[in-house]
């Protein structure tokens, strides 16, 4: 049994390097971008985080913004798991696996974004329970590390087990995966909730210190994740022989539509609270939407971002709720892309950064990511796409039974 698994691994390794020219070109392009990012990260290791745009005042930037967005993406895989496994919806059953593979790639990106953000990556082991000194359960970051690693392991197990069984041509044993599927559903909600609590639990940052952050995170995540999957499925259909049922895409479209509307509603709730009852605690929201006057200067670098994000999400919402347009695939794709970009901005430049402005001492400082920082971000995204493409490259032939045990 172990032997047949080793044979499987060996064949999977060989299969990883065999593919069409297009596949090679795609993987090579991603490798180049990832390598540029890694090179820039090595520069950061030598010079320190001063090569980023972060300061003592705005001490988290695009790294943590991307981290937050990607935790949501990883959590969103659950939206596929629930109908597929609990309600035994056959149409969506197969594609769940692709959602979970996306979750795995997203979690790996999350962990990389944490690694590039910390000042002493060499001391990462200080967080390992037993070996180091993990401040659990007090620190929300300790919780986040635990739930992210746990979520990664659960999803690796589910995907690995189901794929290997398919490769062997055997029916998977319910006991070996169903309990983990149930765990992963609760866990998916928890990873994004914990990530929200990371921000919510800070008494000195009124912009984050509000109960709506976790619901908003979930709303935006369940818009972004299925949105990306809709596009990923079409790419998979186009470049492989794998057929994804239209019904699966319609289920995803409904999830995106509902979540996007909920997300916009929560954003409206928060905006009302910040501006109608404008207290000293509304300064961050004022800075985000309109900019702030401080010591005779106007600071407003974030407002174009948030207005862009809101416009994109509104256009996406209109496309999705007007039936004749929403049924057209091209428009659905536009809506998914707009919603995803909008949510990326809303969670990064619209949530992480303004929480630091004005500072607790009342100063206004602005944040502009540097080129190095940006290249590192692109590098991690390319690496994540590389992992996702590679996993699909192995999973699709297994699913369509072209790659199977001899």
């Amino acid at each position: 049994m172990i032997r047949s698994y080793l044979v499987f691994l060996g064949r999977a390794y060989v299969l990883s390097f065999s593919g069409s020219r297009l596949f090679y070109a795609w993987m090579a392009a991603l490798t180049v971008v990832a390598a540029i990012g890694a090179h820039e990260f090595c520069r950061q290791l030598v010079q320190g985080l001063e090569i980023t745009g972060m300061t003592d005042q705005i001490s988290w930037g695009v790294y943590i913004a991307n981290f937050t967005f990607l935790v949501g993406l990883a959590a969103a895989a659950v939206m596929l798991v629930i109908p597929a496994y609990i309600y035994r919806n056959k149409e969506i059953h197969d594609v769940v696996l692709f959602g979970e593979l996306l979750a795995i790639a997203a979690i790996i990106m999350c962990l990389l974004f944490v690694m590039v953000d910390i000042g002493r990556p060499d001391r990462f082991w200080h967080m390992f329970p037993g070996l180091g000194k993990l401040n659990f359960p007090s620190s929300m970051l300790a919780w986040d590390v635990v739930v992210l690693f746990g979520y990664l392991l659960v999803n690796l197990h589910i995907c690995g087990y189901l794929l290997y069984m398919k490769y062997l041509g055997r029916t998977p044993t319910l006991l070996f995966y169903m309990p983990f599927v149930l765990i992963s559903i609760a866990w998916a909600i928890s990873i994004h909730t914990v990530t929200a609590f990371l921000f919510v639990g800070l008494v000195g940052r009124p912009f984050w210190n509000t109960a709506i952050v976790a619901p908003r995170f979930l709303g935006s995540a369940f818009t972004a994740g299925p949105g990306i999957l809709i596009i990923a499925f079409q790419i998979i259909q186009h470049f492989s022989d794998y057929k994804i049922s239209e019904k699966a895409i319609y289920i995803l479209r409904n999830i995106v539509t509902a979540s996007l509307l909920i997300n916009l509603f929560l954003l409206a709730c928060e905006t009302f609270k910040e501006f109608y009852a404008a207290s000293a605690h509304s300064s961050s929201a004022r800075y985000l939407f309109f900019g702030l006057e401080h010591q005779g200067h106007h600071f407003g670098s974030l407002s174009p971002w948030i207005w862009t994000a809101i416009s994109m999400e509104l256009v996406a919402a209109v496309i999705l709720i007007v039936p004749p347009i929403a049924r057209r695939m091209a428009f659905l794709n536009i809506a998914c892309v707009l919603a995803n970009i909008g949510i990326w901005i809303e969670k990064g430049m619209g949530m992480v950064v303004p929480g630091f402005v004005p500072t607790p001492q009342g100063t206004v400082v602005e944040y502009f990511p540097t080129w190095s920082e940006t290249l590192i971000c692109f590098g991690i995204w390319a690496f994540g796409l590389l992992i996702f493409s590679w996993m699909l490259h192995l999973a699709i032939p297994i699913m369509s039974r072209r790659f199977k045990a001899a």
């Binding site: 890694a38 001063e50 000042g119 000194k133 639990g201 000195g204 000293a280």
Partner: protein, 323 residues
């Protein structure tokens, strides 16, 4: 490419060469070998900047355990190693001690807002005492806000006022540093317990344990914490050679630091550098447990103001006004 026997021909254009049949398997291995070679070449290019990495930790430093897990013998080795490192990196001959909290002592600070004239002498004395490069004023542990006389709104304060023309009409001055809270949000959020509150009320940081995640900086309601975005640079004679392990030793790159009430001085019975230098006598430092002490006198007799009392972190740092 020959069609592998178990592949439907119509899928051939997209279908990967599957390793079932020997020829494509061999070709696959050749390809994967080439892929591996290319990978190695890329890796070498990617890692190139690391050749100029100067301050990589030694193996002992890398494996060093948390402060509270170090035996006295191990601690002594660590202190000697840090001393040697200061010599290597800065050419400075220094002594690094680890003074322990005193029995029956809990430190507290009281600052007279009526008297403070915004000279920023405390800021500079602190930087010199605590080995903060003078050309990095943003790293200073103390920031002084020039406030409008009719307001306590920090957003109206100005941290970049000209210190040559103080005190100015219609203004008062509000110095802010670590408030050494009794319920510190910073220690609560640290994922690795690299920062904690000592029995004498001082919240400290183990610079050899901090992972540099900066969560404590996001948590602090007083903006008291600073991050070493790069390695601090000094000439050897700019360094204060009298160092404490948990206080003013030169910090490595990538860790967080902040005011520690000059514990390497105050645990030996001296005043913190900022209190000693203050030209107006606005800064009062002492043991809050001493019923006859200056701090208790102020708390009983003056009008005391606690900055951001609504955060309920219960600071050991009090502002007061002359009656």
């Amino acid at each position: 490419m020959s069609t592998p026997p178990n592949i439907d021909p119509e899928h051939e254009k997209n279908g990967p060469a599957l390793p079932e049949d020997a020829p494509s398997g061999r070709r696959g291995f050749l390809k994967s070998a080439m892929g591996t070679m290319a990978g190695l070449a890329v890796t070498a290019g990617v890692l190139e900047p690391l050749r100029s990495l100067k301050d990589a930790p030694s193996l002992e430093e890398f494996l060093q355990q948390h402060y509270t897990k170090l035996t006295p013998d191990l601690m002594d080795q660590v202190l000697r190693r840090v001393e040697a490192l200061m010599g290597e990196e800065y050419g400075a001959k220094v002594r690094v001690n680890d003074p322990k909290p005193l029995e029956g002592v809990e430190f507290a600070y009281a600052l007279n807002l009526t008297r403070c004239n915004g000279s920023r002498r405390c800021v500079y004395a602190c930087m010199k005492e605590n080995n903060i490069p003078l050309d990095q004023p943003e790293m200073a542990y103390i920031r002084v806000l020039e406030m409008n006389i009719d307001s306590l709104d920090l957003e109206e304060g100005n941290v970049q006022y000209e210190a040559s023309a103080v005190p100015r009409e219609g203004k008062y001055y509000l110095p802010i540093q670590c408030h050494q809270c009794r319920k510190p949000p910073c220690t609560k959020v640290c994922p690795v317990e690299a920062t904690w509150t000592e029995p004498d009320g001082i919240t400290v940081i183990d610079y050899n344990w901090c992972i540099g995640c900066r969560y404590c900086m996001a948590a602090c309601p007083y903006e008291a914490r600073r991050f070493n975005w790069t390695k601090p640079s000094f000439a050897a004679d700019e360094i204060n050679p009298d160092m404490g392990y948990l206080s003013n030793r030169v910090r490595p790159r990538g860790v967080v630091e902040k005011c520690h009430f000059c514990l390497h001085r105050t645990r030996l019975g001296k005043n913190p550098a900022c209190a000693e230098v203050c030209p107006t006598g606005s800064r009062i430092f002492g043991n809050i447990l001493d019923p006859e002490g200056k701090i208790q006198f102020i708390l009983k007799n003056k009008r005391v103001y606690i900055l951001k009392a609504e955060a309920k972190t219960i600071p050991r740092f009090y502002y007061f006004f002359d009656n």
